[in-house]
C-alpha cells in the first residue's frame, strides 16, 4: 500500500462526492438539532451501489466510502452497513440496513443508531448475534451526541437470535476499522470548517489564523486527522487485527485535543450550535467510547504486541519488555 489512491479508487471517491454534494445541506429546520439522519441519501447510496463496495471491490473501498460520508454534517450510516456487516457476513446478500453495532454486555443501555437500524450486530464476546430490528421495539433516548440513540423497550432474546459462533473478535476488528474511518472523515471535515473560519475571522486587524499560537495547534490537529486517515486505510487494507486496534486507538486518543482546539478557535461561537462543528465533533465524541474505548483497545494492543511482558506482573515485567525490544 503506498497511500496513493488508485485510479479506480479516485473514480469511486469522486463519483460518491458528486452525489453527496447534492445532499450535504442540512434542512433549515434541523440546523439546531444534535443530529440529522438523511434517510433519502441513505437509500440513494444503497441503490447506487456504494454500500456494496466491501463485497464488490474490497474493505479499503468501503472505508473510503465511510470517510467521505463522515465529512457531511448530515448523517448516513455507511460504516456498519457498508463495511462491518459485509466483512462479517460475506456469504449473505446485502444486509438490511442501516446496521447498528451493540456491545452485548450493555444491551440494556442506549445504542448508537438503534432508532434508524433494521439490523443489529451484537458483540457477545466469543460469538455475535444478528438481530432484526423492528423500529416499534426501540425507544429513542435524547443525547447530545450527533447520532440518534435508542434503547430496546424490552431486552431482545439473544438466545433465539441468529448466532455467528466465534465471530466476536472479527466484529470488534472491523468495528474498529469502521470507527477509525468515520473519525478520520469527520475530523478532517471539522478541521476544514475551522480553517475556513480562522482565515476569515479578523481580530486586531488580522485573521485569527495568522497568529502562530493558533497555527501550531491547528497543525497538530491536522497531523492527528491525517494519521487517523492513514491508519484507518492501512487497517482496512491489511485486514490485520492489530492494525485495526492501532487505528482505533489513535483515532480515539486524539479526540480530546481536537475537540477542544477546534471549538476554542471559534471563540464564543464555539460554545453554541450556531455553526456546524458539533455535527462532526459530537460524532467523534460518541465513537471515542466504542469497541473497547481508548483504554480497552490500548490494553489489547499491548497484549497482542508484547504478550509475555503484559502477562508478567510487578518487578519481572521490565526486563521482559527490554528483551522484547
Amino acid at each position: 500500500m503506498d497511500f496513493q489512491l488508485s485510479e479506480d479508487q479516485e473514480a469511486l471517491v469522486s463519483a460518491l462526492q458528486s452525489i453527496l454534494q447534492d445532499h450535504a445541506e442540512l434542512p433549515q429546520a434541523e440546523r439546531f438539532s444534535y443530529s440529522y439522519f438523511n434517510a433519502d441519501l441513505q437509500r440513494l447510496l444503497g441503490e447506487s451501489g456504494f454500500l456494496g463496495a466491501a463485497r464488490d471491490i474490497g474493505p479499503l473501498e468501503a472505508a473510503l466510502v465511510t470517510i467521505e460520508t463522515a465529512r457531511l454534517p448530515v448523517l448516513v450510516e455507511t460504516a456498519a452497513t457498508g463495511l462491518v456487516a459485509p466483512m462479517l457476513l460475506p456469504a449473505d446478500g446485502p444486509v438490511d440496513g442501516p446496521v447498528a453495532l451493540i456491545a452485548g454486555g450493555a444491551i440494556g443501555k442506549a445504542h448508537r443508531n438503534l432508532p434508524i437500524a433494521r439490523t443489529a450486530l451484537v458483540d457477545l464476546g466469543e460469538d455475535v448475534a444478528v438481530l432484526t430490528i423492528d423500529p416499534a421495539d426501540v425507544e429513542p433516548v435524547a443525547s447530545i451526541l450527533a447520532y440518534p440513540y435508542g434503547r430496546f423497550r424490552a431486552i431482545p432474546d439473544l438466545a433465539a437470535a441468529r448466532r455467528l459462533p466465534g465471530a466476536g473478535a472479527r466484529l470488534r476488528q472491523w468495528w474498529r476499522v469502521a470507527l477509525a474511518a468515520e473519525v478520520a472523515g469527520a475530523a478532517q471535515a471539522a478541521l476544514d470548517f475551522t480553517l475556513d473560519y480562522v482565515k476569515q475571522r479578523q481580530v486586531f486587524g488580522r485573521p485569527v489564523g495568522s497568529f502562530q499560537s493558533v497555527q501550531h495547534r491547528l497543525v497538530q490537529c491536522h497531523a492527528h486527522a491525517q494519521s487517523t486517515y492513514y491508519l484507518a486505510l492501512r487497517a482496512a487494507w491489511s485486514g490485520e487485527a492489530v492494525d485495526a486496534d492501532c487505528a482505533a486507538s489513535l483515532a480515539q486518543q486524539g479526540v480530546q485535543k481536537l475537540l477542544f482546539d477546534l471549538h476554542q478557535f471559534h471563540g464564543g461561537m464555539g460554545v453554541t450550535t450556531e455553526h456546524l462543528l458539533h455535527f462532526w465533533l459530537y460524532r467523534i465524541r460518541a465513537l471515542q467510547a466504542e469497541a473497547g474505548g481508548v483504554h480497552g483497545i490500548g490494553l489489547e494492543i499491548a497484549g497482542r504486541m508484547w504478550p509475555a511482558a503484559t502477562q508478567a506482573t510487578g518487578a519481572d515485567a521490565a526486563p521482559q519488555i527490554a528483551e522484547a525490544g
Binding site: A106, I144, L145, Q256, Q264, A289
Partner: protein, 404 residues
C-alpha cells in the same frame, strides 16, 4: 495570609452555622431541571435570605448597604459558601460585582442612589453589553454607535453573548461616540434600560441545549444623557474598572467548589468497569484522579498567593491571567474525566442543576460548559499573550505590515 484567616475562626463558625440554618436542604432537588422562572424566583429568594443574614453583599461598603467585610472575611465567607454547596448567585453576578465596581469609581451620586439600593433589594438584575459580533477579543474595535442628540444619545448597533440579558433590567453598555478617534479613545459607557423601545433580544442556543446568552439588537434606542458613566469618549478606562472589580474572589469560590466537587469524581470512579472490577481499580483512572487532585491543590495555592497580595495591598501582576488559564484548563480536564467515568450513558440528556457549581456530576453538560471558561472573560490565548508580554517580558507578536 494564614495568620489573618486564623484570627477569623469565630467568624467562620458563625457563617457556617448561619448557612446550616438557612440553606434549604432540598435546594438541589428543587433546582434540578427547574424552569427559567423557577430559577429566577429561587435566585431572588436566596439572595434576599443572604442579604437578611448580612452576607449578600460582603464586599459592598456599609454606606451603600453592604456588609463592608474585610477582604479576609470575604475569603472565609466564600470558602464556607463553597463548602456548604450553596447556590451560585449567578443572576446577580454583574449587578453585585460590575455595577458597584463601576458606579463607585465613575458614577454620579444620582446614578448610585438610583441603582445601588435597588440591586441590594434583589429587584435589579444586570447584564453586560460589551462584546459584538466583530469585537470579542479585540473589544476596542466595537462599532455600536451612540450619537448625542440634545438630552439623549441615540444608539444603533448589535451586541452579542450577553449573559442573562433575557432576565436583566439594565445593561452596562459600551458604544462608540467618536468614530474618528483611534480605537479605544472614542468609546463611551452607558446604563441602558432594557425596556427602552428599540431593544430586541434573540437567545443564542448553546451546545448544552440551554440559552443563557443573547444577541442584543439596538435600533434608534434613546439613552438619556444622564445615563452616561464617566466622561464622554472616556468609556475605555471605565470598562477597565468594571473588569477589575471582583479581585480574585470569584475564582476562589470556584476553586473551593471544585475541591468539594472532587468527591463526585471519586464516587463516579466507584462504578463497575466494563472490563470487570471497579473503574478506580484501573491504574490509568487512578493516575488521572491524582493528577486532578494535585492540580486542585496547586490552583488553591496560586489563588492564595494572589489573595495574599490583594490583602496586603500589593499591586497584582499577571497572576489573574495565570490563574484563569489554570482554572479553566483544570475544569476542562476535571469534567472530561467525569465524562470518561460516566461512559456513553453519562452523555444522555439529563436535567440541569440551575444555579449549581461548575461540577454537578451531569458530566456531559459540565464538560461542554467548561469550554465557556476558556473563552469568556478573555480567552486562554489572550491570557497567554498577556503573561508572555507583561509577565515574561517577551517581545510582542509582529504587527502585520502596513496596508499596501
Amino acid at each position: 495570609m494564614l495568620d489573618e484567616l486564623r484570627e477569623l475562626e469565630p467568624f467562620r463558625a458563625e457563617v457556617r452555622a448561619w448557612l446550616a440554618a438557612h440553606l434549604p436542604a432540598d435546594w438541589q432537588q428543587r433546582m434540578l431541571g427547574a424552569s427559567e422562572e423557577e430559577h429566577v424566583a429561587f435566585q431572588k429568594a436566596w439572595f434576599r435570605t443572604m442579604m437578611e443574614g448580612g452576607y449578600g453583599a460582603p464586599h459592598w461598603p456599609k454606606t451603600w448597604g453592604g456588609s463592608g467585610f474585610t477582604f479576609a472575611q470575604q475569603i472565609v465567607l466564600y470558602e464556607e459558601i463553597a463548602r456548604a454547596g450553596a447556590p451560585r448567585l449567578i443572576l446577580y453576578f454583574i449587578a453585585l460585582h460590575h455595577v458597584p465596581g463601576t458606579l463607585l469609581e465613575w458614577g454620579t451620586q444620582a446614578q448610585r442612589e438610583r441603582h445601588l439600593p435597588a440591586v441590594l433589594s434583589g429587584d435589579e438584575i444586570w447584564c453586560q453589553g460589551f462584546s459584538e459580533p466583530n469585537a470579542g477579543s479585540d473589544l476596542a474595535s466595537l462599532r455600536t454607535r451612540a450619537e448625542r442628540r440634545g438630552d439623549v444619545y441615540v444608539v444603533n448597533g448589535q451586541k452579542t453573548w450577553s449573559s442573562n440579558a433575557h432576565h436583566a433590567h439594565y445593561c452596562l453598555l459600551l458604544a462608540r461616540t467618536d468614530p474618528k478617534a483611534t480605537k479605544t479613545r472614542g468609546i463611551s459607557y452607558f446604563i441602558l434600560d432594557m425596556k427602552t423601545p428599540g431593544v430586541t433580544l434573540r437567545p443564542i442556543k448553546q451546545m448544552t441545549g440551554a440559552s443563557h446568552f443573547n444577541e442584543l439588537f439596538l435600533d434608534d434606542v434613546e439613552i438619556p444623557a444622564e445615563n452616561l458613566i464617566g466622561p464622554e469618549h472616556g468609556g475605555w478606562a471605565v470598562a477597565q474598572s468594571t473588569l477589575a472589580s471582583e479581585r480574585g474572589l470569584t475564582i476562589l469560590e470556584l476553586a473551593e467548589r471544585m475541591r468539594v466537587g472532587f468527591r463526585l469524581l471519586l464516587d463516579a470512579a466507584q462504578a463497575e468497569a466494563p472490563l470487570g472490577g471497579r473503574l478506580i481499580d484501573d491504574d490509568e483512572i487512578r493516575r488521572r484522579l491524582v493528577d486532578i487532585h494535585a492540580r486542585i491543590q496547586a490552583l488553591r495555592l496560586l489563588i492564595n498567593d494572589l489573595l495574599t497580595q490583594v490583602l496586603r495591598g500589593a499591586k497584582t501582576g499577571t497572576e489573574p491571567s495565570i490563574i484563569k488559564i489554570y482554572y479553566s484548563e483544570l475544569l476542562r480536564d476535571f469534567t472530561a474525566l467525569g465524562v470518561t467515568l460516566g461512559g456513553v450513558a453519562g452523555q444522555y440528556l439529563q436535567p440541569v442543576l440551575m444555579g449549581g457549581a461548575n461540577e454537578t456530576g451531569y458530566w456531559m453538560q459540565d464538560y461542554l460548559y467548561s469550554w465557556a471558561w476558556t473563552i469568556s472573560g478573555g480567552s486562554s490565548e489572550i491570557q497567554r499573550n498577556i503573561v508572555a508580554e507583561r509577565g515574561l517580558k517577551l517581545p510582542r507578536e509582529p504587527q502585520p505590515a502596513a496596508a499596501g
